[in-house]
Symmetry: C4
Subunit: 213 residues, 4 copies
């Protein structure tokens, strides 16, 4: 898109995407700072001390995938966006704030993997991301000229239902943290896997591409 | 813009924008390093120790929004810029230096939320960003061929008045830090909110877009 | 590529490249955090204490080059890619996870340069990157419409053999860590050097360019 | 440049520029981690303890500008580059390695501002950047088809002389560190200032632009 047509369309989404890519890349990489090198007195000792860090490794892995899921969701949403306005910028910055908090709640969960407070705070940040993600999709698909007009209304509805899963399931996980912590952990593990494996936008694009041939 | 026309126009703004996006993304994400996981002996204990960290959470939140405001201001300014020269590069790097200092003064304020020295140093960095932002706008809108010539002189003047608010209000906040610290905190809280909610550039673009239909 | 044709082709690779560049840039720069300033009592003392840090400097240097090699491999692969799908996104995120782990295993190796556990864990992360890199090349060069169709099948095969070197050699290095640690270190040193000095993609591009004149 | 012509020309410089922007943005922002919040018992105490940190603030400021100078030099060089090859990629990664080391030597200098070892190591990293920068310019302006052919041979020579200043002056500063440390500090202060204020590429572009009107 050249600058002149961009101007007619309001701010182009390019720099908001660049900020998103930067913030997600940094949040994903900062997670590694939680994997601290242990003090050890010898090889056998080092192995067992690293083994004792397994909750941190598990939290690192889950959080990396979680951030990947939310980055991909942002990528797919912005794929259809043709211009941004002030409200969308600030909704996105709120979304980035959630992403930037993940290294903190991951560190908390890695330090206190069985503590309901740590478990539920992790869920609160996931819920923030899920709710803001839902609001962003609802906002951009409204009649505001922000999104590609050829976008299939069916897909819009399907994605809205799909991304409602997060805001509905995560509060359950937060409550369960105080009753059955292991179920909360399970939800945190399964939820991103579901998003990785099933994703209506991707198959829509796939069909779109085949139709275009 | 292709490389040939860019060459005629001097350095293109693309890479300065990329550096800006990188530095703001990192500064925003580094803020999270100040939210340190507390030492706790049990769930109840963890909750109360996290609660005691509220000044750090508040500073994190405000600083994230503040950086968002200054990033957005940079984005909107560069939206109209067609080429950059050496002076603009160095004014921008000074602006980025202010952004890079925010995690430090945020950490200081989160550690000593009632200390007038911490409160005023936070204001000094905000003032640096505000003043350099003002100078950048004044510089690029002068007759230097750096900015889109179709830019409405009315908007140029309006934005200049608007961004003068920072350099005028922040010194007041710095002085108040030594007299009524609570008022300083209030200004730091309200100022970004005003910038988030009211913003003459965005409504100008909105009108521009509607006129172009 | 303009947005319309991109849409026909599925998600464009642009943002995945941006995430890659961000994650590699951060992982490469975070390595420096392992070079901690020592406590010293005077100039002569500082020199000798810095000298004692040589395993950290060596690990920093090797890891920087290793990340450079894997970044360059990603860059060259994506050079031929015309669209991305969900599988490729998640393979890439797994690749980035390996890159993000390098600062941790580098820190481990810098702290315990002679420990077979530290040496082998470094190799495990290298192997993860090498295997995922191999799978990515195999996946994108299959009949999935992800890659430039004019790509020479000879090059495809040549690169596949070439990048099989990592997954074959690194397991040997991991085993040797428990027998002859010095050989493991040697492999970690020589392997990136080989990739820096010999690289079939680059000479192919060179020939391609000369043919196009 | 579209993908087809890029392919004819070898790897496009775009992603190397993105990696550069990322690494410089991170190195510049990581400098702030050296400004550690001091422990203080009251407001007066906080002020004096911050005052005692002045060598760290000075090193932060100088290093931020130094990284800005080297980023700008890379930006200006790559402005003329039309394609990259393997050698240029690895020369650039060596250049980035120097940039990534700046936060470490800055931290060293901020901790031991009068120590000749700290002073000279800072110079060694500056010299690495300066020498690699010189080699890059020499390499790309050779007859390798990497650079815009319309580039004025006069400018090529002028820039080569200009950037030889670093490799010639910095070794003097390194030696002086052991004799007259204050002169070394002075050189570290003056050298970036000279590059900020005088810069033959920028005035060339300026003239180029005026001629093109």
């Amino acid at each position: 898109m050249d600058r002149t047509t961009a101007k007619k369309a309001g701010l182009s989404p390019h720099r908001l995407e660049a900020l998103a890519d930067g913030i997600f890349a940094i949040a994903m990489t900062l997670l590694v700072l939680e994997l601290r090198v242990p003090e050890a007195t010898g090889p056998g000792d080092l192995a067992s001390r690293l083994g004792a860090l397994w909750p941190r490794f598990a939290t690192f892995f889950i959080s990396f995938i979680v951030l990947g899921v939310y980055w991909f969701a942002h990528h797919q949403t912005f794929y259809f966006i043709v211009r941004v306005n002030r409200t969308l910028v600030w909704l996105s910055i709120l979304y980035f704030l959630g992403a930037a908090l993940i290294p903190f709640v991951a560190s908390l969960l890695g330090s206190y993997p069985e503590d309901p407070v740590a478990l539920s705070l992790y869920g609160v940040v996931l819920a923030l991301l899920a709710v803001v993600g839902y609001v962003i999709w609802w906002y951009v698909t409204g009649d505001r000229g922000l999104i590609d007009q050829k976008l299939d209304p069916d897909l819009v509805r399907k994605v809205r239902h799909w991304i409602a899963a997060g805001p509905m399931v995560i509060p359950v996980a937060i409550v369960l943290a105080f009753v059955q912590p292991i179920l909360t952990l399970l939800i945190y593990l399964v939820l991103p896997a579901v998003f990785v494996l099933f994703n209506p936008v991707d198959s829509y694009l796939e069909r779109f591409r085949q139709g275009a041939r």
